[in-house]
């Protein structure tokens, strides 16, 4: 019966079209990015392996680029990816920032405000749910059919449940089918290594359906309360504005007031302040003298190891400790803000959905931080290996140590292992529970209204 309603066909058709156009556009970009990453990664590997014979420390400075492989579900929700960068330059001594932020390449469509599928789901799906549900009882009340139905024994509870189920099914078909189709295409055509893509897709789509059901319930409650369909629509739209437009801004502003973001510039200044004294000529001389004393020799030629290599190992270990302390604290503070933002889901289901969506899509800040530290671990492994090669092959009489392809081949390609789905689920447990709580509270709130349903 619902499919015979032209309103449902038009609204549904437009939603499916919007989801498909947005999703296919994102899929095309992801495919291009994946191909580009594969090409540049192969070129970088060839460049690394094709180095001339040189001192291992020069090779460490020669460096290479590593890339963050995108989750296939990034076509739905790019999350923090456009803002955090997806490639890092690996080189001696430096914990570099991730660069290549997609927003730098954003076109006019991206700036229009509905640039990705998660935006469409976050804003348009609630609107569709409200348009489907606002008339559920109010139109019957206005037309007079509710009086005839209730007066002839239609029980309000089952009537409400049947209509909610029917509308939920319609909404689920309109939302889930395009999303599952797009997700399937993305998984089949994009790199999925380590992403547990199918379980992520199924949970992600289920959450979007749950989100739609929350707004459907809101519309049906408005329909129970309002005397006319127009009144129900007005109430529904006011709630949509409050929950989908106002609340997210309030949540963001509130978070900035309660827990301002730590300053990255100040963090970097502290790191420089810690590293600079350690790298001075005086400090290096002091460490060289201490090393000679530790080995009980007076000349570095008498050392069983290469002094320069040994000092570089010590310097790097000091830098690693500084990075761990300062950037570790910086990333931990941002992650804590993200976790706290999950509680802002109390303000609006859209805020809860945003955190849940990017977590399941594998594009949240936690995955970004994991990538940054994975790249840093790779950088440290290269530095450690190069330093060890120098340290363990002492050169006499001012000769410089040279290494060749055998050493370069010892360094494996960068392999990023994303955080598993179980970790993502743990990260999003608060906003996910809040989303469920919204549905549960609305369902509970509707019960007395259903019992009192009258024409």
């Amino acid at each position: 019966m619902l499919w015979r309603d032209a309103r449902v066909r038009w609204i549904g058709g437009m939603l499916v079209l919007l989801l498909m156009v947005t999703g296919l556009g994102a899929w095309q970009s992801a495919r291009d990015y994946g191909a580009e990453v594969a090409r540049v990664t192969a070129a970088e590997r060839a460049r690394w392996l094709g180095q001339d014979a040189k001192n291992p420390h020069s090779a460490d400075h020669y460096g290479l680029w590593v890339f963050r492989p995108s989750s296939p579900l990034a076509i739905f929700d790019p999350g923090t990816e456009p803002y955090t960068g997806r490639m890092v330059r690996i080189e001696a001594h430096l914990f570099n920032d991730a660069v290549y932020r997609a927003v730098q390449d954003a076109g006019p469509f991206d700036r229009a405000g509905l640039s990705d599928v998660s935006d469409v789901v976050g804003l348009v799906v609630p609107l569709v749910a409200l348009l489907l549900g606002f008339a559920a009882f109010a139109a019957d009340r206005e037309r007079g059919t509710l009086r005839l139905a209730l007066g002839n024994g239609a029980p309000p509870g089952p009537l409400f449940a049947a209509r909610f189920t029917a509308l939920t099914l319609v909404l689920a078909v309109l939302v889930c089918l395009p999303l599952l189709t797009l997700g399937g295409v993305a998984i089949a055509s994009l790199g999925t290594a380590g992403w547990q893509a199918w379980p992520r897709l199924l949970v992600w789509v289920a959450v979007q359906a749950l989100y739609g059901a929350v707004f459907l319930l809101i519309a049906m409650i408005a329909s129970l309360l309002a005397r006319t369909a127009r009144g129900a629509l007005t109430i529904s739209l006011a709630i949509w504005i409050a929950l989908c437009l106002v609340a997210p801004r309030l949540a963001t502003a509130g978070m900035e007031m309660v827990s301002p973001a730590p300053s990255y510039r100040e963090t970097r200044l502290r790191i420089d302040g810690d590293l600079r004294p350690h790298k001075s000529a005086e400090a290096s001389d002091a460490r060289a003298q201490a090393t000679l004393a530790r080995y009980g020799v007076s000349d570095q030629q008498e050392l069983p190891v290469d002094l320069r290599g040994l000092i570089m190992v010590e310097n790097d270990h000091h830098a690693f400790a500084v990075y761990d302390r300062e950037l570790g604290a910086f990333f931990a503070a941002l992650a804590a803000r993200d976790a706290a933002f999950g509680w802002a889901g109390l303000l609006s289901p859209r805020v809860a959905l945003q955190r849940v969506s990017e977590g399941l899509a594998g594009t949240d800040f936690v995955q970004h931080a994991h990538f940054v530290w994975s790249a840093e671990a790779y950088r440290r492994a290269i530095s450690e290996r190069m330093n060890a090669e120098i340290r363990d092959n002492p050169q006499r009489d001012g000769r410089a140590m040279l290494a060749g392809p055998e050493l370069w081949r010892e360094i494996p390609p960068f392999a990023f292992a994303p955080l598993p789905l179980s970790r993502s689920l743990a990260e999003i447990r608060v906003p996910a529970l809040l989303l469920g709580l919204w549905l549960a509270l609305l369902a509970a709130g509707s019960i007395p209204l259903i019992r009192r349903l009258a024409p």
Partner: protein, 241 residues
């Protein structure tokens, strides 16, 4: 042993703001009985029906349908009641047949097409209209689908709010027959109406509603139409003065 009444209203009071609609209404209706509630506009006829259906809650007194308190358990009370409102509203995009089956489904009844056609025929809707969209129905045709819905429910109590309003004379006569047939099957019928002519034809008892209560009960068969009308006007005047 006394037969349990199908409908019992005892000392029912209902006020809207400062206005008293019902002020101690007593009314009892047994199986197979047709009771007509007569009264001018605003006398409280529709309020009485809304109280029986549980759409309104009485400020005092009790309303029982088959011993069920309609105030505290309106859903159970309505499950035993069929109801034809003054303005029968149907889903305009559906045919009369589809409307009948849909409303029956909402009430938890599954009726097949043949059964639905039987009820539509009994209600007097012409067969050529059964499959036409209800958007093209006249008020009388919609009323007949409402009657078919009520008949399909086979309940112990039938409530009619101005049932013959909008029906042409032949349809109204047929409707009278349908109501009497339902009563003969044991259905208790309460109808709120102005139609004195049909009241005399259908009702076993007539209650004149005035001042928020039944001012007088009349046996309509004891009076000719004109006498009944004169009596009704006199009772209303008496209630007012």
């Amino acid at each position: 042993m006394a037969v349990e009444p199908v409908l019992a209203l005892g000392r029912v009071v209902k006020q809207f703001g400062g206005r008293t609609a019902l002020s101690g209404l007593d009314l009892t209706l047994r199986a197979g009985e047709v009771y007509a509630l007569l009264g001018p506009n605003g006398a409280g006829k529709t309020t009485t029906i809304n109280l029986i259906l549980g759409f309104l809650k009485a400020d005092a007194g009790e309303v029982r349908v088959c011993r069920i308190d309609a105030g505290t358990d309106p859903i159970a009370a309505r499950a035993r009641t069929a109801y034809i409102p003054e303005q029968v509203a149907l889903y305009p995009g559906q045919s009369g047949l589809e409307n009948l089956r849909y409303f029956a489904t909402l009430a938890g009844l599954a009726i097949d097409r043949a059964e639905a056609e039987t009820h539509l025929a009994a209600a007097g809707l012409a067969p050529e209209a059964w499959s036409r969209p209800a958007s093209g129905y006249s008020k009388g045709m919609r009323q007949k689908v409402g009657i078919a819905i009520a008949l399909a429910r086979k309940t112990r109590l039938l409530l009619l709010d101005e049932p013959t309003s909008g029906l042409d004379p032949s349809a109204a006569a047929a409707f009278s027959g349908t109501v009497r047939a339902a009563a003969e099957r044991g259905t208790a019928v309460l109808m709120a109406t102005h139609d004195l002519y049909r009241v005399r034809e259908m009702a076993d008892r007539v209650g004149v509603l005035a001042g928020g209560r039944v001012a007088e009960e009349i046996d309509p068969r004891r009076y000719a139409h004109t006498d009944l009308e004169r009596l009704y006007i006199a009772r209303l005047s008496g209630a007012v003065t």
